[in-house]
């Protein structure tokens, strides 16, 4: 389907914690905090038609910039019915307070002094914005990857404020994903321009951030997709991988493009901050047990696994859902059959949207 440009009806920055610091789970604090948000469609006077969209690692508040297909008539974000709200996460570099923001105490950017934040902190800051906007309860909170972690955290931390929750490709991450996140941070921190996080915009750890992104892309995509798209073909620009060390295969050319694209739009300290937030999403650690975390949930929860996702394997999402159900949550598991891997929630939105719609009846049942 055609992508049409959809502009927010309202876009703004919400400032809070100006007088009292915003205290963080890991012990740090921030003062003040600014959150960039974007609202699509109209808020009913009862303020009861909000879909809160939580973005993933490199997303932004401008939901329609990266999830436009979800807005088509009859689809989950159909604006004739819903008011869709996106909030750039705390710690990000797309408008909200994050490592690239100015630390009012120093007049320079926070950089590596930005405190450790958790998915819980992100969600708690979002709750402040919704209070400000007078939204007492969201119809649905939805997200993929760390967006899905936020959706689950919403349902756990604010049980009375969430009617339904849609978490796509999201569970606490496995040892393999922890390993890959560690290597991504290491790649950044090994860059000579890293300088303990005190790099400048002119000399930033581009090589390291690029490698981090490329490692991540390998985990976001599936081996099946890479084989189908690139196989063992030489790079499309005519390089010959069989004749020189420099000659690349096509998949290497793709990754190199991804590296440079990402460098033009992301910040290394931000990457580290959000990758750590992903690591520390752990219901056992944060609530004593999964059961006591799940026991708080009042929302109906739709979890979605992606058949070829090896970062958040569908069988783990399914097992997680079963444990939710066992804890009394009204939860339902659905699967997107798609060879895109984890990235399917962004790369195959038609299929995702279909899967959500096919299961929406369940929310209303």
């Amino acid at each position: 389907m055609n992508r049409v440009s959809i502009e927010p009806t309202q876009e703004g920055d919400f400032l809070f914690a100006e007088h009292e610091p915003f205290r963080l789970d890991a012990g740090g604090e921030l003062q003040p905090v600014s959150l960039r948000y974007a609202i699509y469609g109209s808020l009913h006077s009862a303020r009861d038609n909000v879909i809160l969209v939580c973005h993933a690692l490199s997303g932004s508040a401008r939901v329609a910039d990266w999830w436009s297909e979800m807005f088509a008539p009859g689809r989950p974000f159909d604006l004739s019915t819903h008011c869709v709200m996106g909030i750039n996460v705390l710690g990000s570099c797309y408008g909200s307070t994050g490592p690239a923001s100015i630390n009012p105490k120093t007049g320079a950017s926070y950089g590596p002094d930005f405190p450790l934040i958790t998915i819980g902190d992100i969600v708690r800051s979002q709750a402040r914005l919704l209070e400000y906007l007078g939204v007492k309860r969201v119809r649905n909170v939805i997200g993929g990857s760390i967006g899905g972690m936020q959706a689950l955290e919403w349902a756990i931390d604010f049980p009375d404020r969430v009617e339904s929750c849609t978490a796509i490709g999201a569970t606490p991450i496995s040892a393999m994903a922890l390993a890959l996140n560690h290597l991504q941070r290491l790649a950044i921190q090994s860059d000579p321009n890293w300088k303990g996080g005190r790099y400048t915009r002119e000399a930033s750890p581009e090589a390291g951030l690029g490698i981090a992104r490329a490692i991540a892309m390998c985990s976001y995509k599936s081996p099946e997709l890479f084989t189908k798209r690139y196989a063992r073909r030489p790079n499309r620009n005519g390089e010959d991988p069989y004749r020189s060390v420099e000659g690349r295969f096509d998949v290497a050319g793709y990754l190199d493009y991804q590296r440079s694209e990402f460098n033009s739009r992301f910040d290394a300290n931000t990457y580290i901050t959000l990758s750590k937030a992903m690591d520390t999403f752990d219901l056992v650690h944060n609530y004593g047990s999964e059961k006591s975390a799940f026991g708080r949930i009042r929302a109906k929860v739709l979890t979605i696994g992606i058949s070829t996702d090896w970062l958040f394997p569908p069988e783990e999402v399914r097992a997680y859902t079963a444990r939710m159900q066992a804890a009394g949550v009204c939860a339902h598991y659905a699967e997107v059959a798609c060879d895109h891997g984890h990235d399917a929630f962004l790369a195959n939105v038609d299929k995702l949207s279909e899967t959500i719609q096919a299961n929406e009846g369940w929310f209303n049942a």
Copy 2:
């Protein structure tokens, strides 16, 4: 079982191409070439009891140092019957001519001037050594990973000199593996100490080589194994990943150990050379078609897949074997059920040995 120290009965360096250069598939040449080899057990006077063992990326000629469990009585390398021969591959840094060797033309190490080599070059150099030793035909050629590529290449390139071939976790690599190899080389080449490959021993690209190794370890091990071994436990030294950016999970501590262990024993240019040789193992490219490559094979071929190998997925090894059979090769597929991932051929030798023995009857049938 206990590992016992098994010493070679003969160890040496074979020098050739002193007068005529050894010409390489990609167009380069080397002169002279030296190959480090190790022989275990006794060569029958008919010289017909040789098992040629091809090592993987970071292995050496000293087979019993890394595959000792295979030598136990009754096992595949039982020295009462077999004479086991290991040859350090061309391009390695464990005794044979490689990037870390002295280039006689310059008096300095080859470094980045070392020419591109292929699995075919490696095998052709090994053939020269076997000729020198008077071994006209090997009873079995065996290896895992790029060792398995060599075993297959032997069967294809020297059909009359190979009685049987055992290739473990080895096919031309997939797009995902090409992607990961590219990133590993990139990590090395992005290290400030890399200096275009002209680094010194005192200031070598350790950070980059360490990251390369750690990426590789993630692909050698399975997510299942990481979950079983490390789960989401904090690093065993007491660090708290929930309180600081530096605090690691256990799997990160493991990878950091692997990085430093590898740096103490491997060379960056060598890593790039062998990783490229792995990339360019491609029967379609090298022989026009898989069928014409397979059509050359006269040996009985045992292929072994590892159930949890995601770098060389068992279903790909199985499909590859089926295509061999379709091309008329007397080939047989067996699978090691083991949660170690690709690394199982080194990490679970008991299971591997069992699988080989259970299928040895087939070689003799």
